[in-house]
């Protein structure tokens, strides 16, 4: 039951992401096709295309940077030694703790 719920969650995430990427890209693909249909005397503005691309890529780079650095900041904050949540050892720490009595039972 839980497995099905996780599957559904993953599917939902994947579909949402694909939909967002498609929504971001479809207008550009349509625009490119329309540009090809224009009369022979209308040309694309290379400067505008190149600078627009530069700003879009900068936005993407800052987004990735924010995600990665945000995750790292959260990790450091959440798992710091002084966090009250870290007073009790986690189940994984408890398992590896020889004084907890389960170390040898695990076969190490």
């Amino acid at each position: 039951m839980e497995c099905t719920s996780k599957q559904q969650m993953k599917t939902l995430i994947a579909v949402s992401i694909i939909a967002l990427v498609a929504l971001a890209l479809i207008p550009q693909i349509v625009h490119a096709q329309l540009a090809q249909q224009t009369s022979a005397k209308q040309y694309i503005n290379l400067r505008a295309e190149v600078w627009n691309e530069f700003f879009r890529m900068t936005t993407a780079a800052f987004t990735v940077g924010a995600i990665v650095s945000g995750t790292m900041i959260w990790l450091v904050w959440r798992f710091r030694e002084s966090n009250p949540k870290n007073k009790a050892p986690t189940k994984w720490e408890h398992m590896d703790d020889p004084t907890a009595g389960s170390y040898e039972e695990e076969g190490h």
Binding site: I18, L20, A40, L46, E49
Partner: protein, 141 residues
């Protein structure tokens, strides 16, 4: 939300951003490199230390290139001696001139005026002076 879900979201967002970057760059590169069918060919020759140009009708120019506003031009760029790089900064034209090999670039000026042409690859003693001018004229025809 468990760890598992958070990791999936993290991975999915990064993959989505990378997909976006790849597809978007591909679309723009295709649009930028797609030379219009009616573009007039101009042969550009780089040699120490000046640029020479040959229009489709055989007209030759040295250092100063005259073109018409509202027309598309395709540059066939090559070099007679060493590596040069043909650059018109104001029109985003930037392509290496390589001996024994022809490179291509195109542009369609939509503003009349005079713009600098320069060599962007160090090509010897007088590289700094390997400059030219692009003159975009109003099309009166």
């Amino acid at each position: 939300m468990g760890h598992d879900t958070a990791e999936w979201v993290f991975v999915a967002i990064v993959i989505a951003v990378l997909c976006y970057v790849g597809v978007d760059s591909w679309i723009v590169q295709k649009a930028v490199e797609d030379v219009p069918a009616d573009a007039e060919v101009i042969k550009v020759t780089g040699q120490q230390w000046y640029w020479s140009f040959e229009h489709a009708d055989g007209t030759k120019e040295i250092s100063t290139l005259h073109v018409k506003k509202g027309h598309a031009y395709k540059f066939e760029i090559y070099s007679r001696d060493v590596m040069h790089s043909f650059n018109i900064p104001d029109w985003v034209v930037f392509e290496d001139a390589v001996p024994g090999h022809t490179n291509h670039a195109w542009f369609a000026p939509d503003q009349a005026g005079t713009y600098p042409i320069q060599c962007r690859e160090y090509c010897g003693l007088l590289h700094y002076n390997m400059r030219g001018s692009l003159v975009v004229e109003d099309d009166k025809s």
